[in-house]
């Protein structure tokens, strides 16, 4: 149909560009993965070689599983990420609903104020945050991390979701009001399902920085029992000696849960788009 699209040269160029980009993006992950299955000597002798019968070794994984409480770190990271995402999505969507649905004095100002956080990095306030956490006794708890990440994620969530909330049909909400649904029922039963694709986008955006963060776990929750995966992996990185086997194995294993979460959210994304099309 479309001439520009069916032109084989164009198609080829497009694919070459995309494939090149994919290779560049995946290469570091690939290097981490192959080297995590090699012995220390093999890693340094030829970092880009695939593991073979001679160089194959699970020593990295064994170290990780033996040393340090890897599963606890894993669990901590998971709790923090899922907990933060839950609160970001819940409060972000609620604020977005209120901003887009209710007319009140200072509505626009409030929206701008909430969006201001997008431009101000939360790390600037680290000292103050640490002070507050010490004062409230939350240091070295997972709640400290969940609260900080929720604060960090909310501005963008409110900003994106309020755009989508504005798109939810007024008639639908009014029909709910006439049928006797409470405002909460309208929010949870009518508005939320319709902005699900946007929620998935926000979730994906927030998930990866939270999962990978080293800064706040290091400052707010460095205790052994609250260490996250990223922080936990740091024990293998020394000032003089780094246990590369262990670091690479830990990183390889850290990829899996985010991958699973991403797949879950991206399926929501696609389903949301198609269900919107037939409506």
């Amino acid at each position: 149909m479309n001439k520009a699209r069916s032109n084989p040269l164009n198609t080829a160029a497009m694919h070459v560009a995309l494939i090149t980009y994919t290779l560049i993006a995946l290469f570091p992950v690939f290097v981490i993965l192959i080297n995590s299955f090699k012995s220390r000597k093999a890693i340094f002798r030829d970092p880009l070689a695939l593991p073979n019968s001679e160089s194959f070794s699970l020593i990295g994984y064994q170290t990780v599983l033996k040393q340090g409480d890897f599963f606890l770190y894993f669990q901590n990271s998971f709790l923090v990420t899922v907990g933060s995402l839950f609160f970001i999505l819940l409060f972000g969507a609620m604020a977005a609903f209120a901003l887009s649905e209710y007319r009140f004095k200072g509505n626009t100002l409030m929206g701008l104020y909430l969006a201001l956080g997008i431009m101000i990095p939360i790390r600037i306030g680290t000292v103050a945050i640490l002070d507050m956490m010490v004062a409230t006794g939350l240091v070295n708890t997972l709640w400290a991390l969940i609260l900080v990440y929720t604060a960090q994620g909310l501005p963008l969530a409110v900003f994106i979701l309020s755009e989508f909330m504005r798109g939810v049909s007024d008639d639908l909400k009014n029909a709910g009001r006439i049928d006797g649904l409470s405002e909460y029922a309208i929010f949870f039963k009518l508005a939320l399902p319709l902005v699900r694709p946007a929620m998935a986008t926000v979730a994906v955006f927030n998930m990866i920085p939270i999962w990978n963060d080293l800064w706040f776990p290091l400052i707010l929750a460095p205790a052994e029992e609250t260490k996250t995966l990223t922080l936990g992996s740091q024990v293998f990185i020394g000032q003089f000696v780094t246990n590369w086997n262990a670091v690479l194995s830990a990183l390889s294993m850290a990829i899996i849960p985010v991958l699973v979460l991403y797949v879950i959210f991206s399926r929501q994304l696609i389903r949301g788009i198609t269900s919107g099309a037939v409506k």
Binding site: L172, N174, A175, I178, L194
Partner: protein
């Protein structure tokens, strides 16, 4: 018995005064149509009646009850929206029964009312379908069904036919008229389409810029408009307005004449140039011009008139409506 009384209702959005001192009384069982150009405040008025907007001042009575602060679900009303507003995640049966469930009606009552409504609207075969699996007309019938099951004191329709195609629109219009006679309930219907207003209404309320221009039965409004706006708004093609001196009358008033009241005769005393001819088969609309003023003439049957012709027309005295420079009827 009155179904609805509006007393001095005003509504402002910030500095914008949308509804200005609205006083309307609607009797039990009446079919009332609010009609007016876009932006005249008719939808806002309906939303004030429904309780979706609060009036800035004034009283709304539904039946005998003052409902100024009553939430929409407790007002005894049901509303049908232009965009259908069906719940996308519920099937037809659940869409219709949701409000009854919220009112904590028993299962038997819900079942009975849903089957009654679906029988009236020919929806019995579609009860387990989802809104996305229905056509536009079916969706609108579900929306109407959702209103019927509640047995409301007052039905509110907000431009329910605007999203339907022409043929379906006519069918649904007739269905709504039948529904009104079957249920003998009071209905308020908002539209900008004057055909819908004329064909459905017991009583038409013409609104302009947030003010009620005139209230009356369709023929009252057609035959006896109180001002130039109402005269021009109702009727299709619209009434012609000519300066008085064109027809040899003294004073600077405007003369209105309906297109079907103009008579083409060889010795008519107004000569007009034909610019355009619309042949509809059963009737012909001739768009002509006299010294810069357009004149539409409606002829029955087919005609030989062609663009460029000069016609002589008569404007019968008894068919003339006279309006002052401010638009008031003289």
């Amino acid at each position: 018995m009155t179904a609805l009384t509006l007393t001095n209702v005003n509504k402002s959005f910030g500095p914008v005064h949308v509804l200005k001192d609205i006083n309307i009384e609607i009797n039990d069982g009446e079919f009332v149509v609010f009609v007016g150009p876009s932006g005249c405040g008719k939808s806002t008025l309906l939303r004030v009646i429904a309780g979706l907007e609060d009036a800035s001042s004034g009283d709304v009575h539904i039946g005998e009850d003052l409902v100024n602060t009553t939430p929409p679900s407790k007002r005894g009303i049901a509303m049908v929206f232009q965009s259908y507003a069906l719940y996308p995640h519920l099937n037809v049966r659940k869409n219709m029964s949701l409000a009854l469930k919220q009112e904590k009606k028993s299962k038997d009552v819900i079942e009975e009312r849903v089957s009654e409504a679906s029988r009236m609207l020919d929806l019995s075969d579609y009860l387990d379908r989802y809104p996305s699996e229905l056509s536009g007309g079916q969706r609108q019938r579900v929306a109407i069904g959702r209103a019927i099951v509640r047995h409301p004191k007052l039905f509110l329709f907000d431009e329910p036919l605007s999203n339907l195609d022409a043929a379906l629109r006519m069918n649904t219009r007739i269905e709504i008229a039948n529904l009104h006679s079957a249920l003998s309930a009071s209905m308020i219907y908002v539209t900008h389409d004057q055909t819908e207003a004329m064909t459905l209404a017991d009583k038409i309320v013409v609104l302009r810029d947030g003010r009620v221009e005139q209230v009356g039965s369709p023929m009252e409004l057609y035959n006896n408009p109180t001002n130039q706006f109402v005269a021009g708004f109702l009727g299709s093609p619209a009434m012609n307005f000519l300066r008085g001196e064109l027809l040899g009358e003294q004073g600077d008033h405007t003369i209105g004449i309906r297109p079907e009241d103009l008579i083409v005769v060889p010795n008519g005393h107004l000569a007009v140039q034909v610019r355009h001819v619309e042949e509809l088969g059963g009737e012909t609309n001739v768009v002509a011009e006299v010294s810069g003023t357009p004149v539409t003439i409606r002829l029955f049957g087919q005609s030989e008139i062609r663009p460029g012709d000069t016609l002589h027309i008569d404007v019968p005295q008894e068919r003339r409506y006279r309006f002052s420079t401010t638009g008031e009827r003289l």
